[in-house]
């Protein structure tokens, strides 16, 4: 079957092999290198394996146990984050960390060690994982945790699926009083204000995120939204009809004109919402999940997401330089996401977050023009000792990866010789 990842940059043949509970990796797949594949929501080639086999984990979607006192949930690899939120939020529990989409599997979230709007208070996804069960292609089964066989745990959390196939995991859910959040929307008109708001908010607000308008280099304005779980149980949200993009338009709907118009409109739309509000977790955590197949709007050539993190000390000047570079190039992206990461250490050897500031931007694929812009952005990131997020990446140069991830050689020792991905061949040689 032809398969694309979320960025729609490539479309290559992959055999369709569903992974079953009973199947044993080393007996069933001796010939080609394999890779586990969940929902294919990562943007580049970290979830693809065009010359090998993909094992689809979605059938492994059972819960094993839930402890209503401690909040410990044990589940299989293919359970969706959205299933957990939908089933447990009404019972007063929620995932402690969630990325911007709920359509990802638990094992995918762990293998990419995702983060959320509460990184400064809760750390990464893997910070909340108690243990995981890994199957190696030679048949070995490994159960590991931050305290037992911790080397395996650190390699597998954020290990991009390369250390084995994650079959089960245990995570601690977080108790909540309500499915609603109390939010506050603020404005900033330059980066200093953004950093000041972040610093002020981190102690008393669990979630912070901001949208920055990078279509103009005159003013680096943005919207800063901070939130806490509400203590008042609200109503349940009616299951509304989802909007969707039903087909791939012949060209990208995201271009200079639409970007500045959209950013302008979005900015003013939020002006009316300034101040305190209430948001349901669905719309606060997953605004884009409301639009099915939103990735199609970038047209047939697909799009890149560029997500960087810059260590705290170098943060402001580097982000400043990146935003200038983008607005000069005229390839501004839709609302870009800017957020500070806290000082909670990331458990994984290849986990992306580090203390500092992260910026995520979407760019329609315009070929050479786009890759030249990326080269210039790469230089800024490298200079500032930052790194890019593999889950979003389809093109970073090898040296940026090796410099950005100093634990890479330690990680390589844990790789499964029977597993390989598009990304691992591009950045690690095999």
């Amino acid at each position: 079957m032809k398969l694309r990842s979320w960025g729609r940059l490539s479309e290559e043949e992959h055999p369709y092999i569903p992974l079953s509970r009973a199947s044993s990796l080393h007996i069933e797949h001796p010939d080609k290198k394999i890779l586990a594949h969940g929902m294919g929501r990562s943007y580049g080639d970290v979830c693809l394996n065009p010359v090998g086999n993909l094992l689809f984990t979605r059938d492994l979607d059972r819960f094993l146990s839930f402890n209503p006192v401690s909040g410990e949930l044990v589940c299989e690899a293919g359970v969706l984050l959205g299933d957990i939120q939908r089933i447990f939020a009404p019972k007063g529990w929620m995932l402690p960390v969630t990325p911007g989409t709920q359509y990802v599997t638990m094992a995918g979230a762990l293998a990419n060690d995702v983060h959320g709007k509460n990184h400064h208070s809760q750390g990464c996804f893997s910070s909340h994982v108690n243990w995981l069960k890994l199957e190696r292609t030679d048949g070995e089964l490994i159960t590991c945790s931050p305290s037992e066989k911790s080397g395996w745990f650190e390699a597998t959390a954020g290990g991009l699926g390369l250390t084995g196939v994650i079959k089960q995991l245990s995570i601690n859910l977080k108790p909540i009083e309500s499915s609603w959040l109390d939010t506050e929307t603020l404005f900033f008109s330059n980066l200093s204000e953004f950093f000041q708001l972040s610093e002020e908010s981190e102690a008393n607000w669990e979630y912070t995120v901001s949208w920055i308008d990078c279509s103009s280099n005159k003013h680096k304005r943005g919207i800063f939204i901070r939130a806490n779980h509400s203590e008042i149980p609200g109503e349940t949200l009616p299951a509304g009809r989802k909007l969707g993009i039903p087909f791939v338009p012949p060209f990208s709907l995201v271009n200079g004109l639409s970007v500045s118009a959209f950013n302008q409109a979005y900015f003013y739309a939020h002006k009316t919402k300034r101040g305190m509000n209430k948001s349901h977790y669905q719309s606060y955590f997953y605004p884009l999940d409301g639009i099915l197949n939103w990735n199609r709007m970038y047209g047939p050539r697909g799009f890149y997401q560029y997500q960087l993190v810059i260590p705290r000390q170098a943060g402001q000047p580097a982000i400043d330089a990146v935003l200038d570079e983008i607005s000069t190039s005229g390839q501004g992206s839709f609302l870009s996401v800017l957020k500070t990461f806290g000082n909670k250490p990331s458990p994984g050897l290849l986990s992306f977050p580090l203390e500092g500031v992260t910026l995520a931007l979407d760019f329609p694929n315009r070929g050479k023009k786009t890759s030249q812009l990326f080269d210039r952005l790469d230089a800024i990131v490298k200079e500032a000792k930052g790194r890019l997020y593999p889950a979003k990446d389809a093109r970073m140069p090898e040296d940026l990866f090796t410099n950005g991830y100093p634990n890479l050689s330690q990680f390589t020792a844990y790789r499964d010789p029977g597993i390989s991905s598009g990304l691992s061949r591009r950045l690690m040689g095999w």
Partner: protein, 247 residues
């Protein structure tokens, strides 16, 4: 608490129907399985989803009439059953069946006679209580025989006639019979049909269609709904065209 029963606990379609039912309300649910051990993890999962529900497994031979009778008696002893979903089955290898009559007989029995006998046993109990719903999982394959799976198709076709008969028998009463006809669905039963995966329907969507159709007390539910149109066309194709098709 309403009382539900599912025959074929490890059927992926049934498992997903159970998940939907249990998210709506707590149920007293009995799962009938050929192998208790394999059904155990289904129950574990359902208990996490719905800690307030009472869920049990009955293990038994699903083919022998006396065993079917025992199983249904055990389920109904504790009280009237509100809803039964008969979901067990297997997808046989057509060619292997053609070369092995014993295998054919077994497949016809597992996919046709056994579900019909379960429906009969539950129907008899429901005729006494005067109410209840029976969902029987047939298949689009039962709508017209074709060379690539007519053993399976014949068994499922049996269920079509069987359900019609029951519907006739209970017309005008509070006993409701729903025949479900799923199209090809992505489940472990179809996993060996590799590469067809993504073209097949998603099992959660199929289960949702079934649950909705049963809630509306529809006599026949195609899942996904498009198969109603497709099978209408297939059924009405003249034989000289149909027989030339390689399906």
């Amino acid at each position: 608490m309403k009382r539900y029963a599912i025959v074929g606990a490890t059927s992926a379609i049934a498992e997903h129907c159970a998940r939907i039912w249990l998210t709506k309300e707590d149920l007293d649910l009995t799962l009938v399985a050929r192998n208790k051990e394999r059904a155990e993890s289904v129950v574990q999962d359902l208990r996490v989803r719905s800690p307030g529900s009472v869920i049990r497994i009955i293990e038994g031979d699903l083919v022998t009439p006396s065993s079917i009778e025992d199983i249904v008696r055990e389920i109904c002893q504790a009280g009237d059953v509100d809803c039964v979903l008969i979901a067990h089955g297997s997808l046989p290898d057509q060619e292997a069946c053609q070369n092995d009559l014993a295998r054919s007989a077994n497949e016809l029995s597992v996919n046709g006679i056994s579900p019909a006998l379960f429906a009969e046993a539950f129907a008899n109990k429901m005729s006494i209580s005067g109410r209840g719903q029976i969902g029987i999982i047939g298949s689009v394959a039962g709508d017209r025989g074709r060379k690539s799976n007519y053993i399976y198709g014949a068994a499922k076709g049996l269920l079509t006639r069987y359900a019609q008969g029951l519907q006739h028998r209970f017309a005008g009463t509070d006993v409701v019979i729903t025949l479900v006809k799923p199209g090809p669905t992505q489940t472990p039963m179809t996993a060996h049909l590799s590469d067809e995966g993504p073209k097949m329907a998603d099992v959660t969507a199929v289960a949702q269609t079934i649950v909705n159709g049963m809630a509306k007390e529809r006599p026949v539910v195609y899942a996904p709904g498009k198969w109603l149109i497709i099978m209408m066309i297939i059924r009405h194709l003249p034989r000289f065209i149909f027989n030339r098709m390689d399906i």
